[in-house]
C-alpha cells in the first residue's frame, strides 16, 4: 500500500506547499507588524505634539489604541492558523473535520486569492463531516485544487467551497469555475503528477465537471495507513 506511493514526489510537493504557506504567513505577519508600527508611531507623534503644547483629542488616542488591538487580534489569528497548519504533520492518520479544514485552507490561501483578485467563499455544511485521513496530504491536495480553481474562475472571480457527506465518505466541491471547460490540456495541466500522487495517498478521487464548472474531491471515510 504505502510502499507504492510516490514518496519522492509527495515529499517534494509537501515541502513546496509548506514553503509557500510559510512565506505567505510571514508576509501577513509582516503586514500586521508594519501596521502596528505605524499606529504606535502615530501615537508617539501625537505625544510629541502634546509635549509641545498642542491639545490631543482623547478620542483620537482611543482610535489608535483600538487599531493596535485589532492588529494584535489579527496577528493572533494568523499565528493560531500557522500552529494548526504546523501540527498537521504530527500524525499520519487522524480524524479531520472537513468544514474546519476548508476554513483553515481559506485562511491560509487568503493572500494568494487576494493577489489574484479572487474571493473564497466557504458554504457551511449543516453538520460536522469527519474522515480519518492524513491531514497534511489532505491540505496539500486542497491547496493544489484551490490554486487551480482560482485560475479558472473567469469573470466571476470567486471560488465556492463546500463539504458534503456521501455514502462512501465525504465530498468536497469547488464551484463557480466558469472557465473550467476552456482550460487547454498541456504542460502543467491539471490534474498533474503531484495531484495524482496525493489522490493515491489519500485513496481519493477527483471528478472534473466541466459543464457545471465544478471540481469534486471524493474521500473514503477512512484512509489506509
Amino acid at each position: 500500500m504505502t510502499m507504492n506511493w510516490n514518496w519522492e514526489l509527495l515529499s517534494e510537493t509537501g515541502l513546496q506547499f509548506f514553503g509557500e504557506m510559510s512565506a505567505s504567513i510571514s508576509h501577513e505577519l509582516k503586514n500586521v507588524m508594519a501596521i502596528i508600527n505605524e499606529n504606535a508611531g502615530l501615537l508617539e507623534d501625537l505625544t510629541v505634539m502634546a509635549e509641545k503644547g498642542m491639545p490631543i483629542d482623547p478620542e483620537r488616542l482611543k482610535i489608535q489604541a483600538s487599531r493596535i488591538m485589532k492588529q494584535i487580534r489579527r496577528g493572533d489569528d494568523i499565528v493560531k492558523g500557522m500552529n494548526r497548519f504546523a501540527h498537521s504533520v504530527d500524525e499520519p492518520l487522524r480524524q479531520a473535520e472537513l468544514n474546519d479544514t476548508l476554513g483553515l485552507m481559506c485562511t491560509l490561501s487568503g493572500r494568494f486569492a487576494s493577489m489574484r483578485g479572487v474571493t473564497l467563499e466557504l458554504e457551511p455544511a449543516s453538520a460536522q463531516i469527519s474522515i480519518v485521513t492524513n491531514p497534511f496530504f489532505l491540505q496539500n491536495l486542497l491547496w493544489l485544487c484551490l490554486d487551480f480553481a482560482m485560475s479558472v474562475t473567469g469573470a466571476i472571480k470567486k471560488v465556492v467551497l463546500k463539504a458534503e457527506k456521501i455514502e462512501t465518505g465525504a465530498k468536497i466541491c469547488f464551484s463557480k469555475l466558469q472557465e473550467l471547460g476552456r482550460k487547454e490540456p498541456g504542460p502543467g495541466s491539471f490534474p498533474g503528477e503531484r495531484e495524482a500522487a496525493l489522490l493515491q495517498a489519500l485513496k481519493a478521487r477527483l471528478e472534473i465537471q466541466k459543464e457545471s464548472g465544478e471540481l469534486h474531491l471524493l474521500f473514503p471515510a477512512q484512509a489506509e495507513r
Binding site: 505577519l29 508594519a34 501596521i35 489574484r116
Partner: protein, 122 residues
C-alpha cells in the same frame, strides 16, 4: 515634495500618510494599482512608495506604468517578504538603495526620499 503611497493594507498607507503630513510631506495613498494609476492621472508625484506584492498589478509592473506617465517620479519599494528574488527584482528596477523591508522606520523612509530627490538614491 509630493508622495504617492501604494499598499493593499489600507490602515498602513493611511496612517503612514498622516505621519508624513505631520512632518510636512504631502502624501496621497492608494490600496490598489488601479487606484494608484487613477491618482497619477490627476497628480504628479515626486516619489512613489510601492509595495512589491499588491493584488492584480504587481509593484514592479505598477512602477513601469507610473514611470511611463511621469518619467521624473522616483521609486521606493517596500516589502514584507524581504526575499532574495524581491531584492534582485527591485534592485534591477530602482537600485539597491530603494528597497525597504517592513516594518519601515519613517525617518529612514524620509531620508531615502530626500536622497532620491537630490539624485543620490542609488
Amino acid at each position: 515634495m509630493k508622495v504617492l503611497l501604494v499598499d493593499d493594507e489600507h490602515e498602513l498607507v493611511s496612517t503612514l500618510a498622516e505621519r508624513l503630513y505631520l512632518r510636512g510631506i504631502q502624501a496621497d495613498w492608494a490600496i490598489s494599482g488601479e487606484e494608484a494609476l487613477t491618482l497619477a492621472e490627476k497628480n504628479t508625484y515626486d516619489v512613489a512608495v510601492l509595495d512589491v506584492k499588491i493584488p492584480r498589478i504587481s509593484g514592479l509592473e505598477l512602477k513601469r506604468r507610473l514611470q511611463a506617465g511621469s518619467p521624473a517620479t522616483k521609486f521606493i519599494f517596500m516589502t514584507g517578504h524581504g526575499s532574495e528574488d524581491d531584492f534582485k527584482n527591485c534592485a534591477a528596477e530602482t537600485g539597491e538603495g530603494c528597497y525597504l523591508v517592513k516594518p519601515v522606520n519613517i525617518e529612514d523612509l524620509i531620508r531615502k526620499m530626500n536622497e532620491l530627490m537630490k539624485g543620490s538614491g542609488d
